[in-house]
C-alpha cells in the first residue's frame, strides 16, 4: 500500500504507540484486502464497550479498558495507553441496557464494570449514542462523505439512503480509524463499486413498514452481497421503512448498498443507478415472491401463545413509538405476555417528554435503550414464542435464543402483546 508522509509518520510512531499500532493494523488489513491506499475519514461508528463476563475478566486481569481497546479495537500484541480519539466517533449498541440490567438478567458486577467503561468511552471523546441507528440521533453523514461504520443495518442506510461511503467495518478497524482518521480505500469508497448490478421490478405495491421488511428479505436472499436497484415504487418510503428494508436485506443476504429509482440519491434515474454496469439479472417481485418471504420469516413458528413481543430492531424511531403508544393506549399487556420496545437513549428522552413512555408503561410495556434481544441474548424469563415486526430480528432470534418467531405488522404485534395470542395473517 502507498502511504503519504503523514501516514508514514503515524506508522513510525510520531503520534505515540497507540496510533502506531492502529496504523500497523490498517496496513495489514488494507494489504489483506488488496487496497492501494487509505482514505481520510472523520466519521467512525464502532464499539468499545465491555459488556460480557469474559470482557470484564479480560480487562481486570490485563490492565483495564486500555487492555480491552489494545486487544479488541487495535489487535495490538501489547497493552498501550489509548489517547482520546482523533475523529468523530459514535458508539453503537451494546450487550444490555444498563438502566434495565436486572430485567435482562445481567449481574450487578458486570453493570458496575460497564459503568466504569462508559466513563472511559466518554472520556476518550466517543459519543455515547449506544444505538444501531446513529443516523437517528445526530450522525447523518453528507452525501459522498467517507465513513468507517460497523453495524450492517447502519452501513446499508449510510451508503444507500444518505449516499455516504462506507464498507462494513469491524470492531478492530473502527478502533484504528478512530485514532488515525484513516480507513482502506476499497469497496464502496470507490464510485464504480456503488453502481447497480441487479434490477428488481415491483409487480405489487410496497407501502407499510412490514411490506418493506418483506421486500428487503426477498432481495437479500436473491442478490446476496450485490447492489440491487428497485424500480416501480409508487410511494416514497419514510425513514422507518428504509431502516427495516435495509436491515432485512443485510440479514437474508449481505446487501451493503442499494438504489431505489427516483428516491435514493445515486439513483435519480435507472440509468444513473446502473451507470456503465450491465444488468446481471432482472428479478420480479410479485404476490408469489412476497408470500414466500412472509412464509420464510414465519417458518419457525407454530405455537400461537406469544410470550414476548419485541419491537425496535433496528432501534425504533419516535414516529414508531408514537404509533405503538396509540395502538396500546387504554389496553393492557396480557398477563402471560410481555412488551419490550428498544430505542436510542435520546429518543427515549423524547418519548418520556411526549408522554408515550407513560402510556406504554401504564399498559404494562417497557421502553429500553442501548441494546436489543439479539445483542443481549435477553428476553423475559421462560420465553418460547416471540412476535416481531422486524424481519432482521425474525431472522436472527430463533438461532440466538432458540425461540419460535412470528413476523407481522406493528399492530399485529401489539395485539399479540395484549391478548397473548398471535392472530397475524398474510395480507
Amino acid at each position: 500500500m502507498q502511504l503519504n508522509d503523514d501516514e508514514k509518520a503515524m506508522a513510525d510512531g510520531r503520534d505515540g504507540p497507540a496510533v502506531q499500532r492502529a496504523m500497523d493494523l490498517l496496513l495489514r488489513y488494507g494489504e489483506a484486502l488488496g487496497a492501494e491506499r487509505l482514505v481520510n475519514t472523520n466519521n467512525v461508528c464502532g464499539t468499545v464497550s465491555a459488556t460480557t463476563p469474559f470482557m470484564r475478566d479480560f480487562a481486570l486481569s490485563k490492565g483495564g479498558m486500555d487492555a480491552v481497546f489494545s486487544e479488541f479495537n487495535l489487535d495490538s500484541d501489547d497493552v498501550v495507553e489509548i489517547p482520546p480519539v482523533k475523529t468523530f466517533t459514535s458508539h453503537l449498541q451494546l450487550g444490555f441496557d444498563p438502566a434495565h440490567a436486572e430485567m435482562m438478567g445481567v449481574s450487578e458486577d458486570v453493570v458496575k464494570f460497564y459503568r466504569k467503561g462508559e466513563g472511559y468511552i466518554a472520556g476518550h471523546g466517543i459519543q455515547l449514542m449506544n444505538t444501531c441507528t446513529p443516523y437517528q440521533v445526530g450522525n447523518i453523514p453528507t452525501r459522498g462523505e467517507h465513513c468507517a461504520w460497523m453495524e450492517s443495518s447502519a452501513v446499508v442506510y449510510c451508503n444507500s439512503v444518505l449516499g455516504a461511503r462506507t464498507n462494513t467495518e469491524g470492531r478492530e478497524s473502527t478502533g484504528a480509524a478512530s485514532l488515525t482518521g484513516k480507513i482502506p480505500y476499497w469497496g464502496y469508497h470507490l464510485p464504480e463499486n456503488r453502481l447497480g448490478t441487479h434490477l428488481i421490478e415491483l409487480d405489487v405495491e410496497v407501502t407499510s413498514t412490514s411490506d418493506w421488511g418483506l421486500l428487503g428479505y426477498f432481495i437479500g436472499e436473491q442478490v446476496q452481497d450485490k447492489v440491487p436497484v428497485v424500480n416501480g415504487l409508487t410511494d416514497v418510503p419514510n425513514l422507518a421503512r428504509l431502516k427495516h428494508f435495509g436491515a432485512a436485506a443485510a440479514s437474508s443476504g449481505g446487501v451493503e448498498m442499494y438504489h431505489l429509482v427516483g428516491t435514493t440519491p445515486e439513483a435519480i434515474t435507472r440509468e444513473q443507478a446502473f451507470g456503465r454496469n450491465r444488468v446481471i439479472e432482472t428479478l420480479r417481485y410479485g404476490e408469489a415472491e412476497r408470500r414466500r418471504a412472509y412464509e420464510q420469516l414465519n417458518h419457525t413458528a407454530d405455537d400461537h401463545d406469544v410470550d414476548y413481543v419485541m419491537l425496535g430492531c433496528p432501534h425504533y424511531t419516535i414516529e414508531q413509538i408514537w404509533e405503538a403508544a396509540r395502538l396500546i393506549q387504554g389496553r393492557k399487556v396480557h398477563v402471560n405476555s410481555a412488551l419490550w420496545i428498544f430505542t436510542p437513549r435520546a429518543i427515549k428522552a423524547l418519548a418520556d417528554q411526549n408522554g408515550y413512555t407513560k402510556i406504554i408503561e401504564d399498559a404494562g410495556g417497557v421502553i429500553l435503550s442501548d441494546s436489543c434481544s439479539a445483542m443481549s441474548r435477553a428476553a423475559p424469563k421462560g420465553t418460547k414464542v416471540v412476535a416481531l415486526d422486524s424481519a432482521k430480528q425474525a431472522h436472527y432470534l430463533p438461532a440466538i435464543l432458540g425461540v419460535q418467531a412470528w413476523y407481522g405488522s406493528t399492530a399485529e404485534c401489539i395485539d399479540a402483546a395484549c391478548t397473548g395470542r398471535w392472530a397475524g395473517r398474510y395480507a
Binding site: L25, R28, Y29, A32, L33, G34, F54, F58, E71, F72, D75, M150, E151, S152, V155, N167, T168, E169, G170, R171, E172, S173, P184, W186, G187, Q224, D225, S251, G253, G254, A374, Y396, P398, A399, I400
Partner: protein, 151 residues
C-alpha cells in the same frame, strides 16, 4: 505391516492475505460462514441454523469456505476464537470482503485467496492440507493406509 503413503494430490496457488505456515485437517463447506450469531467463539463451533457444518468445530483445522456473511461482528467473533485458543489453523476462501479480510487479519491464522483453482471444489473434508501463505501455496495431501496383501 501397514504403510502410510502421503500423496500430494494437488497444489494450489493463491494470494497471501495473512502470512505464515500451518498444516492441518481440512474442514470444507460450500456455504458462507456467519461470525457473530453464526459461531460459538468459545469452542470454534458453527451454530447457525441450517448451516451444513452446524455442530462442527473448526479449531486447529484448515477452514476452506467461500467467504464471510452476516453481522459486522464477524472479525470480533473470530478474534475471540484466537483468545480462547480455538481458532482455525489456516483459512482458505474465494470471495474477498471487508468482513473476511479483517477477520483473517485479527485471527492471525495463515490465510490465502485469489486461487488458480477453486479450493472449495478441490479440497475435501478430512484431507491433510499444508498452507504456506508466504509462498502462496497450498498442498493437498491424501493419506492412504495400505495393508500388504502378499505373504
Amino acid at each position: 505391516m501397514n504403510t502410510v503413503a502421503d500423496t500430494v494430490v494437488a497444489t494450489l496457488h493463491g494470494r497471501k492475505v495473512v502470512g505464515g505456515v500451518a498444516e492441518g485437517e481440512a474442514l470444507v463447506t460450500e456455504a458462507h460462514i456467519s461470525g457473530w450469531g453464526g459461531i460459538d467463539s468459545r469452542t470454534g463451533t458453527i451454530v447457525e441454523m441450517r448451516h451444513p457444518l452446524r455442530g462442527q468445530s473448526f479449531a486447529a483445522k484448515v477452514l476452506v469456505f467461500p467467504g464471510a456473511k452476516g453481522s459486522s461482528g464477524w472479525s470480533n467473533a473470530f478474534h475471540l476464537t484466537r483468545s480462547m485458543g480455538v481458532a482455525p489453523a489456516a483459512m482458505l476462501f474465494t470471495e474477498m470482503t471487508t468482513k473476511i479480510a479483517l477477520g483473517a487479519v485479527v485471527t492471525r491464522a495463515p490465510a490465502l485467496t485469489d486461487f488458480d483453482q477453486d479450493p472449495v471444489a478441490l479440497i475435501r473434508t478430512g484431507d491433510w492440507v499444508r498452507v504456506d501463505a508466504d509462498a502462496g501455496t497450498v498442498q493437498v495431501i491424501r493419506r492412504a493406509v495400505r495393508t500388504p496383501t502378499g505373504p
